[in-house]
């Protein structure tokens, strides 16, 4: 079973990804399939009682998930290459603009040295690239104790920190 880092812990993944046999807990499909299921033009591939999640590719527009943000439990953002940067924007927008509160998972070519910035963009789960050490990846979430930018989850607005002390 696939191991991921989720909520700072290494754990087994209960979901199936596109192309995999449907898992009992939840099934992740492409954005096109997800929208088709919601529109009623495609039968949901999820078994009865299983949740339906969605996987975004870099060129996908996450704004299309806005109507479903409250009901979605898992959004997977795929990084086909480690240099791919669009997913950072997708994650941030889902959290900050569309109010998505479910699991936000970075998957694909996700490297150890990227999880800190991904977490700052709102990701709380990481399906790491093959060969990456999950324990070390979880530890990377504490790499920096400070930051300059006001992003999701930041309490202090750092560029105004002169006012707050």
């Amino acid at each position: 079973m696939r191991q991921i880092v989720k909520h700072r812990q290494c754990q087994a993944d209960a979901w199936s990804m596109p192309g995999e046999a449907a898992a009992a807990a939840g099934v992740v499909v492409s954005l096109a399939d997800y929208l088709a299921v919601q529109a009623g033009t495609l039968a949901s591939p999820a078994p009865a009682g299983a949740a339906l999640g969605v996987q975004l590719e870099p060129a996908d527009d996450e704004a299309q998930l806005l109507p479903f943000a409250a009901q979605l439990q898992l959004v997977v953002v795929n990084f086909p290459k480690s240099a791919e940067g669009r997913g950072y924007t997708q994650g941030r927008m889902l959290r900050e603009r569309y109010g998505y509160c479910g699991e936000l998972r970075a998957a694909g070519a996700v490297l150890l040295d990227q999880v800190f910035l991904l977490a700052r963009c709102g990701f709380d789960a990481f399906d790491m690239a093959p060969g990456e050490n999950l324990t070390l990846a979880a530890a990377e979430l504490d790499r920096f104790s400070v930051a300059y930018q006001t992003v999701v989850g930041t309490v202090v607005q750092p560029h105004r920190r002169g006012q707050v002390g």
Binding site: Y88, L118, Y148, H159
Partner: protein, 548 residues
Amino acid sequence: MYRYDTLDHTLVAERVAQFRDQTQRFLAGQLSEDEFKPLRLRNGLYIQTHAPMLRVAVPYGLLSTRQVRMLAHLARKYDRGYGHFTTRQNIQYNWPKLEEVPDMLADLATVEMHAIQTSGNCIRNTTADHFAGIAPDEIDDPRPYCEIIRQWSTLHPEFNYLPRKFKIAVTGSPADRAASQVHDIGLHLRRGPDGQIGFEVLVGGGLGRTPIIGKVIRDFLPREHLLSYLEAVLRVYNRAGRRDNIYKARIKILVKAMGEEAFRAAVEQEWALIRDTALLLDVVEIDRMRKYFRPLPYEKLPDIDVTAGREAAFVAWYRHNTRVHKVSGYRAVMVSLKTPGIAPGDMTAEQMDGLADLADRISSGEVRSTHDQNLVLGEVRQQDLYETWQRLTALGLATANIGTLADMICCPGLDFCSLANASSISIAHQITERFSDIDYLYDLGPLEIKMSGCMNACGHHHVGHIGILGVDKHGEEWYQITIGGSASGDSSLGEVIGPSVAKLEVANTLAALLDVYVSIREEDETFLQVVRRVGVTPFRERVYAPNR
């Protein structure tokens, strides 16, 4: 100047620890060359022809003397006794050992310096006018805004994996001394309709393979919206910029592909959603930042004639290497890093220490770096200029050639850089040898020669009055010449005069171009003005004349 607080110190210290860990994992074989590359680049570390090269950030070109002494220390301890100032106000070390780079960064952190994002596909060091705060025609000092941008862009979580590198320059004067029109974003401080301060915003300028002058996408942006607007531009670029072809990935290509209007509309649409969020800067925060750059308590001094009765060498230096200051009784002093026989921008550890001592004694304890690879002492009393000249002369930093042909911009070229097609430094030497008569250089007037060893245009050749580009022709080094470029307020891109010339012919070609100029100039016309008046043809005809 800006001083780190606890947050800044903590962030830089944690960044050093992170890079030390990354370096150790690479040396231990846990990271491959390919995996380590984007990590080291985000810390300014290149693997070059001979050794790693470390590029250290000099935010908006401002250094304290304490920092200059640390740069000297690094040159001595980890390098071969010198450093190289770049066209983006940074400094590079060409001979460090990879395993010692974390120690260099730790040393830099003690003086509030770092190498964060001096390379890689992220937001680079923000550059500024080297006369910021002292230029008489300045609308506002750009440096407080640069520091706000520095902090915002440092480890920005969303914009660390952009399609390509991203460079921002800010100017506060109508005269553009920061080449802002050839940056991904150029910000020009302006006064708005009601007298409030803000920015004209240019996007999509750049050199490289596709040289383009930036387009104005907003005439006036009130300054409190600086970060939200930058974030909107970056978000549009991060989403839509091309990632399939490294040569088409800069924002200039996106602006061109979308069209100026569509790009502007996309930015404005995004900006409308974020302009009044936490990114809004309030006047308290801006003023807090401005206080770090407050003007000196200037003495009340009259302007004096410092040249009367002085030797010709001093008078020439005064005329060419000092500039007007907004406060009477003061001058800005250009420290020439264009000594004949030395690579442009190179400076030894001894020169750095000597200059730091001088800046402490007669200036403000600060040194500025310029985008044309010189340094500036910004606050020199006119009565101290003679002593300044003597001391700079003793340090080998008083060559009276600022603004002349000998004040060339030059990239490291094939001698150091693994990207280069051809050498630049040897061509600079060839040119300074050929044109060693300083009176001839003075007669030629203002002349900017800019030279790059490859298409990446680190030497800004497209915007040189005379541009020189090294090209590889069947394994030989050849040079393409352009004329008529400029990076000043009236920016323009140079035009190619014809087929590239052989390595040994570069200086001779320049001589032919200058002969044409001297023979057809009218009164005080500069080289650039003549090229703009008559075009390329007379120059081309002379250079490629069969009997030349």
